[in-house]
């Protein structure tokens, strides 16, 4: 019994996409292979590493590798490509550059989308909020210190405004 493909609508970074999706595809498969947005990475595919992190319509961090694409029928998501608006980097992306929070870069899309969710959840995240939001995404190069410094920088900027 083969699973029927279904026509699916998905809004990614504000753009609407219509496509024929197999039940066998995860949301990550669709984002990367079908839509062609390869910024989102595939890592462990078991929910341990967090590099496939995207934001759902509530701005929360979710793992695109552990959810069937068809679950997202009619929904809106944001991927790493959606952080940059009109050629302007997101405040977090600028902070990552300023603080050197990137080494090899493979985990960076997942780290940034997780960090974005931390800021979305609370414009003024506490140290505990940052640890809580970033524990599910792993940098294998260097660690989370500079990442946290960058997030704190954006948070403190938010605190002033």
């Amino acid at each position: 019994m083969a699973g029927k493909r279904q026509v699916m609508m998905l809004t990614i970074n504000g753009d609407d996409y219509e496509m024929l999706v197999s039940p066998r595809q995860t949301l990550l498969d669709v984002i990367r292979d079908q839509v062609g947005l390869t910024g989102t990475k595939e890592g462990c595919t078991t929910g341990s590493c967090g590099v496939c992190t995207i934001n759902n319509d509530r701005g929360e961090a979710v793992l695109s590798c552990l959810t069937p694409a068809l679950e997202w029928q009619g929904k809106a998501i944001t991927t790493i490509e959606g952080l940059e608006v009109n050629g302007e980097l997101d405040a977090l992306q600028n902070a990552f550059l300023d603080y050197g929070a990137v080494q090899c870069g493979f985990c960076t899309p997942g780290v940034l989308m997780s960090a974005r969710a931390v800021i979305n959840g609370s414009g003024r995240p506490s140290e505990e909020d940052i640890n809580d939001g970033m524990a599910g995404v792993l940098c294998r190069c260097t660690g989370h210190i500079k990442v946290k410094e960058a997030i704190r920088n954006v948070a403190s900027y938010n605190n002033k405004t």
């Binding site: 083969a2 929910g47 759902n56 961090a61 793992l63 069937p68 068809l70």
Partner: protein
């Protein structure tokens, strides 16, 4: 702007196993689909356990029935008689932050203990309570399992973890179950025949394959627990806080204050096929209170009550020891609450 994307998929081994995807709009239609479909159906809520197991080809369902957005499975509320009702479809993030749940800090800690924020944004209460049992001989790639040889979980009458065992001894890894057991929770299961309520203490079995009493035609809809003002301690012992499955979890609750108490409930999780309610250990505390001598007397009861332990993920000797350590730690914490 609407963009049409050509169908393009990757090589079959990298995809999920072939199945039919079904997402009925309400509970009644879901129950009908469950009752009227031949072949194996898996319920999909957050997906963090089901998709993980499908990737490993441990689950190869004919139908994936999505219940993630059923309105009947939502809602966190206090009923007229004080009973707290939690929708089985509520996500763990929503639960741990809800004002009603936060009146029970031990329970909120149990929700917060599960995996990472990313997983908790997806995973549901029902999903965590029905988490498949885990075993390092079964939770491997299909190739690995075939090389080692199958087992009770994958269709043979062999257990690699305890050679002499005739039932599967895979571990129950739910972090939420011990906390809810300490609150004496019940679960409500719905089928086309109606609803039935089962004590969570009676929900799990000693068999790692059929590890709950949920029938194939049933969907868990709600979790209920009586209003109470007991104090509760909750501890999860794990390798990396914020991601891993537990080496062991404990939830301990008691009435009274300080060293005074007349009843207690102590539950250990992640050590065996089911969360273990330590009745004798709790009786010692209920009779003698929470002074040092009583706690030590209670700790001596723990090992016997746990039953057979496996070397899965951690050595059996470690499991016996961590159980005693956690009971002592939780009871000492409880005294300060």
């Amino acid at each position: 702007m609407l963009t049409a994307c050509a169908a393009r998929t990757r090589a079959a081994p990298m995809l999920l196993p072939d199945h039919e995807f079904s997402k009925p709009a309400n509970l009644q239609d879901s129950l009908a689909k469950l009752a009227n479909t031949s072949g194996e159906i898996k319920l999909l809520a957050g997906g963090t356990d089901v998709i993980f197991n499908m990737r490993g080809r441990l689950f190869n369902p004919d139908v994936l029935l999505s219940i993630s957005e059923l309105p009947e499975l939502q809602g966190i509320e206090q009923l007229a008689d004080g009973t707290v009702s939690l929708g089985a479809g509520c996500r763990l993030t929503e639960l741990e932050r809800h004002p009603l749940v936060r009146q029970y800090p031990g329970l909120a800690a149990g929700f917060r203990a599960v995996a990472s924020r990313h997983v908790r944004n997806m995973a549901t209460l029902g999903g965590n309570l029905n988490l498949d049992t885990r075993c390092w001989y079964a939770n491997q790639t299909a190739e690995w399992r075939e090389a080692k040889g199958r087992c009770l979980k994958t269709g043979l009458k062999v257990c690699h973890a305890i050679k002499s065992s005739d039932i599967c001894v895979a571990l129950n890894a739910s972090d939420v179950a011990p906390a809810l057991l300490a609150l004496d929770a019940s679960v409500v299961l719905a089928s086309l025949k109606g609803e039935r309520t089962v004590k969570l203490a009676d929900y799990y079995t000693d068999d790692g394959v059929e590890h709950t009493v949920r029938r194939p035609d049933e969907i868990m809809v709600r979790v209920l627990f009586p209003k109470n003002s007991d104090r509760m301690a909750y501890i999860k012992e794990t390798a990396r806080k914020g991601n891993d499955f537990a080496y062991a979890t404990i939830a301990a609750s008691a009435d009274g204050q300080g060293q005074q108490c007349s009843r207690a409930r102590i539950v250990l999780g992640s050590l065996t096929t089911r969360p273990v309610l330590l009745l004798k250990t709790a009786t010692v505390i209920g009779e003698r209170g929470l002074d040092d001598a009583a706690i030590e007397a209670a700790v001596t009861e723990v090992r016997d009550e746990l039953g057979a332990l496996t070397n899965l993920y951690t050595p059996a000797a470690y499991k016996g020891r961590i159980a005693r350590v956690l009971v002592r730690k939780a009871l000492l914490q409880l005294r300060e609450l």
